[in-house]
């Protein structure tokens, strides 16, 4: 299912899948007919028990793997995956502290998993999400995220190129003022999860530290860029 101009959600049926924590990833390996293999890591949007694994994949124009996953792969095709992987960028429903989630672009995927787990556990831990996208049509899971909003889950948007009509903030890259205005304050001592392109994560993490968040309370996951 194509859900954004460049992205697709894939649902994999993995009979041996042992379940996964919210925020984990898997490695996906493709083998060409000549034997050439390429491995890429993808965050998992689903969590918990079950053998259905959901990914959201952005197509990178010069990519070797993502164009196949976004444009070519069909229901019934076989893919080789390994996982779940990673125990650092995860959230467990035993965690009770406030959580700030900050996503850039397709960095939303592991944070959707965490937000879903928070809802599924009926956790009362205070959650807030800030999601930066180029334009409204580039957002993954926009309607689902809107439905998650309640007393313990707040959602804020940053648009970097095109904002919806009537949106108060002009389209621009995320700034210190955005983070100050639209994230949990240092006084709440939140655990902060930041995921996105490397430049985005570095910029956001720098601002968070500058605002007084302890570095050890900031968990990051980066992809791409310099």
């Amino acid at each position: 299912m194509r859900v954004t101009p460049q992205g697709r959600i894939l649902v994999l049926d993995v009979p041996e899948w042992p379940g996964n924590l919210a925020g984990q990833h898997l490695d996906l390996r493709l083998t060409a007919e000549d034997g050439y293999q390429a491995v890429r890591s993808y965050s998992i949007a689903s969590f918990g028990d079950g053998t259905t694994v959901e990914l959201a994949v952005d197509m990178l124009p010069d990519g070797e793997v993502s164009p196949y996953l976004v444009e070519d792969v069909e229901p019934g095709d076989m893919l080789e995956v390994r996982g779940p992987l990673g125990n650092f960028f995860v959230w467990r429903d035993s965690q009770t502290e406030p959580v700030q989630l900050i996503a850039g672009g397709s960095g939303i995927v592991p944070l959707v998993s965490i937000a879903r787990a928070h809802r599924a556990a009926a956790s009362t831990a205070k959650f807030r999400m800030l999601y930066s996208v180029r334009a409204p049509e580039d957002a993954y899971y926009a309607s689902e995220l809107a439905e998650l909003v309640d007393d313990s889950f707040a959602l804020d948007w940053v648009y970097t190129r095109t904002a919806p009509v009537g949106f108060a903030r002009a389209a621009a890259r995320i700034t210190r003022a955005d983070i100050e205005a639209s994230t949990l304050p240092v006084a709440d001592n939140p655990l902060v999860y930041v995921c996105g392109p490397t430049g985005f994560v570095e910029a956001v993490a720098r601002i968070l530290v500058d605002l007084g968040h302890p570095a050890e309370r900031i968990k990051t996951e980066r992809f791409g860029g310099k």
């Binding site: 890429r40 890591s41 993808y42 992987l85 995927v109 996951e221 980066r222 992809f223 310099k226």
Partner: protein, 94 residues
């Protein structure tokens, strides 16, 4: 993205230490990316998940985010896997 987790998709990709969990786990059979690694060169300490990771079809290199020196290299060649801890002075729990 996560690619890695994440979505980097060219032959040499720069991600971070989260994406090293799979390759390193091939040899170690456990996930050391949550551990705090200390750099032998500059002495800074951070979770290995925060390291810079460069990945290609043969392996993975973890670089210190503070000074850029190589912490760990992982190589997969001809069906064997190799792990070298060139610049990783120590690992500790978080």
């Amino acid at each position: 993205m996560p690619e890695h987790a994440h979505q980097v998709d060219v032959p040499v990709t720069r991600v971070d230490g989260n994406a090293a969990a799979g390759p390193l786990g091939e040899i170690l059979r456990l996930d050391i990316t949550t551990a705090i690694g200390r750099c032998r060169h500059c002495g800074s300490a951070a979770p290995l998940s925060e390291a810079i990771v460069e990945r290609d079809d043969d392996g993975v290199i973890l670089l210190c985010r503070s000074c850029g020196h190589t912490l760990v290299t992982y190589l997969s060649r001809a069906g064997r896997q190799y792990l070298e801890f060139a610049g990783l002075l120590s690992l500790s729990t978080a």
